[in-house]
Symmetry: C2
Amino acid sequence: MTLSKPANPAAPAANPLDRLAAALKPDLTAVNAIIIERMQSDIPLIPQLASHLIGAGGKRIRPLLTLASAALFGYSGTRQHKLSACVEFIHTATLLHDDVVDESDQRRGLPSANAIFGNEAAVLVGDFLFSRSFQLMVEDGSLDVLRILSNASAVIAEGEVLQLTTANNLDTTLDQYIKVIASKTAELFAAACETGAVVANRAAGECMTMREYGMCLGIAFQISDDILDYTASAETLGKNLGDDFREGKMTLPVLLALKNATPAEREFWQRTMGDVNQKDGDFEEAVRIFHRHNAIGQSLTMAREYAARGRQLLADLPKNRISEDLAELITFAVEREY
Amino acid sequence: MTLSKPANPAAPAANPLDRLAAALKPDLTAVNAIIIERMQSDIPLIPQLASHLIGAGGKRIRPLLTLASAALFGYSGTRQHKLSACVEFIHTATLLHDDVVDESDQRRGLPSANAIFGNEAAVLVGDFLFSRSFQLMVEDGSLDVLRILSNASAVIAEGEVLQLTTANNLDTTLDQYIKVIASKTAELFAAACETGAVVANRAAGECMTMREYGMCLGIAFQISDDILDYTASAETLGKNLGDDFREGKMTLPVLLALKNATPAEREFWQRTMGDVNQKDGDFEEAVRIFHRHNAIGQSLTMAREYAARGRQLLADLPKNRISEDLAELITFAVEREY
C-alpha cells in the first residue's frame, strides 16, 4: 500500500487526443518521419526554421484526423501517411504566415519563428512548405485529394483576409465571425477528415459526413480557443493571454458582449478594440464585462452545439474504437482548459 | 508628304515581346479573362489587392511563354489558357511576398501592394493566389503539369531563402548567385515553357529542351535585371534604381567587382553592402568601381552566353514564326534598356 498514486503504464491516456495518438502510434511515427525527411532542403535555413515550428511540440491534431479517418473506415494501406504530412505542412505554412501577420512573438510557448528568424524567412519558408505539400500530393497522385486540399488552402487564405478586414470593426456580425473561423481553422480540419475517407475509397456521402464532422470539430475547437484567449493561464495556453484583445480581433465573446452593451461598454469596446487604444486594466475590465453578460457562458453553449452536431454525424459512420475517440475528441475540444 | 513620322498600324511591334503578344493576341485575351475571373472572391480586399498588381501593366512574359510554347508545337486546344493564368498567379504571389520581404515601396512604377494595403494583406492575398493557381491546375487535371508547377514553386521559395542568406555576405560565390537566379527567376520561366510543351503532348526530350530554353531565358533576363538596377533610369525601370545596392543584394556586377577588388574597394563593399552603412554618393561610387573593373561588361557577356545557348536549343525545335520570336526574345532580354 502506497500513499502516492503509482504510475501505471497501462492507464488510459488522459485525453482523447493522446488516446488517438496512442492508438495510431505506428501511423504517426511514419508521418513524423515523412515530415522530417521532406522539410529538408539544400538551403540550411529552411529545415532550421521549419523544425523550430514543426518540432515544437505541436499536437499534430490535423494529421491525426487524416490518420483517424482512414482508420475509422478500416483502410489498411499507407497513402494516408504522406497525405497527413501534407496537411501538417499546410498548417505549418499558415502558422508561419499568421505569425508574420499578427506580429506574434510567441507560439506554442516558445518565441515565434518570425521573432527569431525574421519576417522574410518566415514568409518564404511558409511558401516552401506549402509548395512541398503540393509536391507530396502529386506524388500520391490523387486529383481528388489535390482538389480537396487546394480548395482548403484557398478558403483558409480567404478566411485570414476576412479576419483582417473584420479586425477592429465593432459592426462585425456573428455570421462573419463563423465564416472567419470556419475558413481559417475548420476548413483544414474538414479537409483532413475528408482526405482520410477519400484515401479509404468511401462513397461520396460518407466522405462528406466525415468532412462535416471535421468542420464541426474545427469550429468548436476555434470557439474554445477564442474563449481561452480570455480565460486560460498564459502558462497552459502556450501563447500570450489576451493576444486577441490586444489585436482587436472580433471573437465570439466580444460579439456577444457587444450585443447588449450599455453605451459606456460600447465606448469601452470602441476605444480598446476599435481604436486599439488600451491601458493597464483594460483586459481585466473586458473579462468583467463578459461576466456581466454571460458572454463566456453563451460562447461555450455555442461551441457545445457544434460538438453535439459533430457527435451526431459520427453516428452515421462505422462504430469502432476510433469513432469513440473522435466523439470524445470533439467534447474535449470544447471542455479543455488549455 | 509629312514632316512627322506617320503612325503605321501595320508596322511590326517594336520588340519581340510585343510581337509575341500580338501574334498570340486571342490566347492572351482568353488568359486575361481567366485571370480577372479567377482572382475574384467574396472577400472584396482580395480582388482589390490582386488587381492592383495584376492589372498594373505587367508584361505577362511568363504566361506568354506557356502560350508561345504551346503554339510553337502547333497545339490547337485551349488548355494553355488556364495554365498560363496559373503561371501568372504563381508569379504574382511571389511578387507580393517578395515585396514584403524586400520592404519595397515601388513595383512597376506604382506604390507596391504592401505599401498600400499592408504587409499582412499582401502575404495573405499571395497565399490565396497561390492556392487558386493549384485549384486551376486541378481543374485542368494533368498530374504532369501539377508536378512541374509544384516543383517550380518549391524551387522558387528555396531560391528566395538562399538569396536572403547570401544578402550582405561578401563571400557569396558566383555559383551561389547563379543558383539564386536560376531558382527565384528562371525556374518559373522554365516551368512555363515546359508546361506549353506538355500541353501540346510532345515527347519528353522536346519538353526538356523547351524547359532548358526557358531556364536560359530566365537567367539571361535576371542578369540583365541585375545590371539595370545600376544602369537604368528610375523612370524606365519602374522601380527604385539602386534597390539591390541599398539592400546589399549580392548580384553579378558586385561579385565580379569584388573578384579583383583593391583593399580600399573591398572595404567600401563591406561597409556599403556587408554592413549596409551607406551615405550619399555611395551608389555613384559603386558604379565607378564597376567601370574600373568592367563589371557591367563582364556581366553582359555572361548574360549573352546564356542567350546564345537558349537560341541554340531552339534550333532543335520546330521552325516557325513563334520560334523566331522566341529567339529574338532571348536577345532582347539581354539587350533591353528597361
